[in-house]
């Protein structure tokens, strides 16, 4: 089933008594599972209106401090649930914090949060392409924030370029047939129960095994993610040259990579993920090692960002709370500032926005 579902209990250690946290948690639970089908990118969250979470008719989450008029600079951000802001209120997602940073430095920008749960970079590239076709005002800057979903994908499917939950969606699609027949019985509750029992048995057997994935398998899976990501970067860069935007790619932190001094809660979160998906930790580590070595001018590895941070930052093995988002956003802004995208006054090189 879907990853990036809210953890079962509110991790109070991360929120430290934030008054909005319990209601945000309830809204996340309500919004997270209301998905709509979308052509080519397969799913997006349905429209939702709450106190801490708001999603518009296009399935896009609200970005605070964003000013989207006919003039002014536009930043489109793509990523999975970590960018969408799982576990954070609208005003504390990475896109909202970035928009705030621009506003605080005297530059109003339009930031659009295209993040969606469990999305991988190919989905994001396709979303970018579709959005470029539809948008009258093209973006000035496109940011990708990826890592965990892409690295996890080969664990779920052997297809080289797929999306998450492929087996589930394939079953839904193929279970339906225009031809008369008896395929509909595969959707019956009896069939579902038997399937669930089989999956349970398989998972139990898998978790009993000492090493669910060999080193060769892990290396091959990591390589698939790495090569696919570079190809997606190439296409995004190509679109950037044609439509006149710059692009930057950020690789997100996870508890399985880097050297964060983990809190008890974080150790528990890491253990839970490893129990649910045996071998996934090693896969993440090997994949992240490959990405750490990338030396492209528009790629930035942020997975070490919490290396000396002893605070509770992670809600689960991949999502950080508002304070973690703030640190990620600051690092992103530093990169953009260095490349002349901080606005008009802060960069030595002048503004590339102009």
């Amino acid at each position: 089933m879907w990853r990036a579902a809210p953890p079962e209990e509110l991790p109070t250690a991360v929120y430290k008594g934030d008054a909005w946290a319990p209601s945000s948690w309830r809204e996340w639970n309500a919004a997270a599972n209301k998905l709509q089908y979308r052509s080519y990118v397969v799913w997006r969250k349905a429209a939702f209106s709450g106190v801490t979470i708001n999603i518009d008719q296009d399935g896009l989450r609200r970005t605070y401090y964003s000013s989207c008029g006919q003039t002014g600079h536009t930043i489109w951000m793509f990523g999975d649930s970590a960018l969408w802001g799982a576990g954070s209120p609208d005003w504390a997602t990475i896109p909202s914090l970035l928009a705030k940073q621009y506003r605080d430095t005297g530059n109003e920008v339009c930031v659009v949060n295209f993040g969606e749960k469990a999305w991988v970079s190919t989905q994001e590239t396709i979303q970018l392409l579709l959005a470029l076709k539809a948008a009258e005002k093209k973006p000035d800057l496109v940011l990708f924030y990826d890592g965990v979903s892409d690295a996890f994908l080969p664990y779920q499917t052997s297809l080289p370029d797929a999306h998450e939950n492929l087996a589930h969606i394939k079953r839904l699609f193929e279970g339906f047939s225009k031809q008369p027949g008896f395929q509909f019985l595969q959707e019956s509750n009896t069939y579902a129960l038997l399937r669930r029992m089989r999956a349970h048995l398989e998972t139990t057997e898998k978790s009993r095994a000492d090493s669910p994935l060999s080193a060769e398998q892990v290396a091959a899976m990591a390589r698939i993610t790495y090569e696919n990501y570079l190809k997606n970067m190439e296409i995004v860069e190509l679109l950037g040259r044609h439509y006149g935007f710059s692009c930057f790619f950020f690789w997100q932190p996870t508890l399985f990579a880097g050297h964060k001094p983990m809190t008890g809660h974080e150790r528990h979160a890491q253990r839970l993920e490893e129990q649910g998906h045996p071998g996934v930790g090693e896969l993440m580590r090997v994949t992240y090692d490959l990405f750490r070595a990338i030396r492209q001018p528009d790629f930035f590895y942020l997975a070490d960002i919490f290396n000396r941070d002893e605070e509770n930052r992670f809600l689960d093995f991949s999502h950080v709370g508002p304070a973690g988002n703030q640190l990620v956003e600051r690092r992103m802004f530093e990169v953009l500032e260095r490349h002349g995208y901080a606005g008009t006054s802060h960069s030595n090189q002048g503004s590339n926005f102009e």
Binding site: L129, D161, L172, F173, F176, Q179, G181, A192, N232
Partner: protein, 415 residues
């Protein structure tokens, strides 16, 4: 045989009445309940079986009608083809492009593990000049054997001209140009050998799309697929929605649709303004897709060409009456204004890599049409020949550009 009177069987010993009657009553109730449940199940089963047979026979009737079409008279492969197509129609889910046909091996139809149909006269083992072709079922070759598709005829033309090329038929039923663009992008990511030439052959499905669905830039059957996905998401695999897809419910829906259609006269009327708006949506979207294909071409080093396919649903179709061509289904007359408006726009569109083929079959006999869009192998041959002439010289298929010019194709020729 000694018959026992019913009265005798029902006789109860004195004093035992109060103890046995309730037990017997429960027994009798259970017996009747079992009979009732069994009967209900049998009736439901019979209803389901009967609905299946009715729906199946309808499918078979449709196929038989196609086999009887004059296109297939005297064609030894026709019966085999239609028999194979029944199995080859099965599609599989494919990430991002949504569906592709499942692998199939036959004598008239062959589909490889990637869901790509066989192209004859194509040589993809070495480093031959490579052509990728994208389109809907017309390009795939619905109604045609492997050797009678447009890609196969194009490959044959090159071969006959002394040049072996690799032609890949990425056509798929009901695909629209956005799906094809994404397939191109995904294939470019995977392929070691990039294409030299990419051909798009579109028209009917793109034009049909806004008539079928109000959503912008979607794929065919969008509403249906959206409903499958969202119902399953809502029910999270628990519930009884699956019964809506049983043969009985489908049969009842079909009956209800027919009754409704009779009442309304069938067609959805479109005003000229609505048709123009839809045409404008189709054309704008197609231009965006062309632009993106060209961007990919510049980067990956291939030429691209876009052909707009003919259809009976344009103005000329009014000449084909059920009396002249009874095998052609007279469906959805409401969509005709959209086709007329879209094809009018495309006919007047000039771009160096765009070729309007919409009128190419206007002087052909009605027998080139299998239905409103799918064409016979003979028609495919002539369409492939026109395409080949378009590329004269590009792959060394025709040695001299003068030949192309002599054929009156100078406006299409590009050195």
């Amino acid at each position: 045989m000694e018959l026992q009177s019913p009265a005798a069987t029902k006789a109860t010993p004195p004093g035992a009445t109060s103890a046995l009657t309730p037990r017997m009553g429960v027994k009798a109730f259970l017996k009747r309940l079992s009979v009732a449940v069994t009967l209900t199940l049998v009736l439901l089963g019979l209803g389901e079986g009967a609905s299946y047979l009715v729906l199946k026979s309808q499918e078979t009737r449709k196929t038989t009608a196609k086999i009887d079409s004059p296109i297939y008279r005297g064609q030894s492969w026709a019966a085999t083809y239609w028999q194979e197509l029944e199995s080859a129609e099965k599609v599989q889910y494919q990430p991002f492009v949504v569906w592709r046909r499942a692998p199939f091996t036959g004598s008239a139809i062959n589909i490889d593990a990637e869901g790509v149909r066989r192209t004859t006269h194509s040589y993809c083992d070495g480093n031959a000049y490579t052509i990728w072709m994208f389109g809907n079922s017309v390009l795939w070759g619905s109604g045609d054997p492997d050797w009678g598709t447009i890609p196969s005829y194009l490959a044959a033309k090159y071969e006959n001209a002394g040049r072996k090329v690799c032609v890949k038929n990425y056509g798929e039923k009901n695909w629209v140009s956005t799906q094809e663009l994404l397939e191109l992008m995904l294939q470019l990511k995977q392929a070691q050998r990039k294409p030299d030439l990419v051909i798009f052959y579109d028209g009917i499905t793109d034009t049909w799309l806004p008539f079928q669905s109000a959503g912008p830039d979607v794929h065919g059957n969008f509403n249906q697929i959206k409903s499958i996905f969202e119902q399953a998401e809502m029910s999270k695999s628990m519930g009884f929605e699956y019964l809506l897809r049983s043969n009985t419910v489908r049969f009842l829906k079909l009956v209800s649709q027919r009754i409704q259609a009779q009442g309304k006269g069938g067609a959805r009327p479109l005003t000229e303004t609505q048709a123009s708006a839809m045409a404008s949506t189709v054309v704008t979207n197609y231009f965006h897709n062309m632009e993106l294909v060209e961007v990919l071409g510049q980067h990956y080093g291939f030429r691209c060409a876009f052909f707009w396919e003919p259809t009976l649903l344009t103005g000329w179709s009014t000449l084909v009456s059920p009396q002249v061509a009874p095998w052609i289904p007279q469906q959805e007359p409401g969509s005709r204004p959209v086709f007329a408006a879209t094809y009018k726009l495309m006919r007047n569109f000039h771009r160096k890599d765009f070729y309007y083929f919409g009128d190419l079959l206007n002087d052909s006999p009605a027998t080139v049409w299998l239905d409103n869009g799918h064409t016979s192998p003979d028609a495919n041959r002539s369409l492939a020949e026109k395409m080949f002439q378009t590329f004269a010289g590009a792959a060394g298929g025709v040695k001299d550009a003068a030949i192309a010019r002599a054929r009156g194709l100078s406006e299409l020729y590009e050195p």
